[in-house]
Symmetry: C2
């Protein structure tokens, strides 16, 4: 598997009428698109997220404005600046994420591989750390 999170740069079709980016489930992203949601009218510098998912795969795109995404996965923190509609950030499963909507015109679009499922959310950070440790100890056990 590729690194997680993984930044995807989409092709942009640009002409005098504007720019177009197209995303096809299973084609230029690695899953079928079950759900699309978008977040808008956010106060400047508001932070959202503060959760992980057990299994969900998502691609995050700032279709307008600038969004800073901070991720934690397997003990590694990483940071992504989504400042172009061409950039998609692929998150798979157990990634703790926060999204800062830097400009008040920022719009976050998210493509997801399943419908909304509250049981897939990990909303408590300590639970996230426990799940990570369980995963890593299982992984080390398998490799021993």
């Amino acid at each position: 598997m590729k690194e997680n999170p993984h930044l995807i740069i989409f092709n942009e079709n640009k002409d005098t009428r504007g720019c177009l980016v197209a995303i096809e489930g299973g084609n230029n992203i690695p899953f079928e698109i079950a759900r699309v949601y978008y977040i808008y009218n956010t106060p400047q510098n508001i932070e959202r997220g503060f959760h992980a998912h057990r299994n969900l795969m998502q691609v995050l795109i700032a279709v307008n404005g600038i969004i800073e995404v901070t991720c934690e996965y397997h003990g590694q923190k990483s940071f992504y600046l989504l400042d172009s509609p061409k950039k998609g950030l692929l998150l798979s499963g157990l990634v703790w994420r926060t999204m800062k909507f830097v400009s008040d015109d920022s719009i976050l679009m998210v493509l997801a591989d399943t419908y909304y499922d509250e049981s897939d959310y990990v909303r408590n950070y300590n639970d996230f750390i426990t799940l990570e440790q369980n995963f890593l100890s299982g992984f080390l056990h398998e490799r021993a």
Copy 2:
């Protein structure tokens, strides 16, 4: 079948952190989402579209700005003002459409039920009229 085109008003989840609209394929729109594309950086008042599709189903959403959509279907012209991310315009098949990007910050997001397929496009208006007439004469023949 419902009217074509058909305007859908999506639920908006709103709180102090902003607004969220979620669309689930086969749930609050009548098809699975194969393709998502978005158009941005358009000059003010540019018009795009000028085509129909043989079979494609799409939902058009102005996630930012204001987009005027003019449609022609079965000899009827109709007009829709997409001025809210809550509004989705469902187009099924043989609808001739033009989209005017009224503000230069307008962003059109489109959800579609199949991958890109050039053979599904009808780009010539006279061909569109011929296809409409063939459809309507077949329909009248069946009813006779």
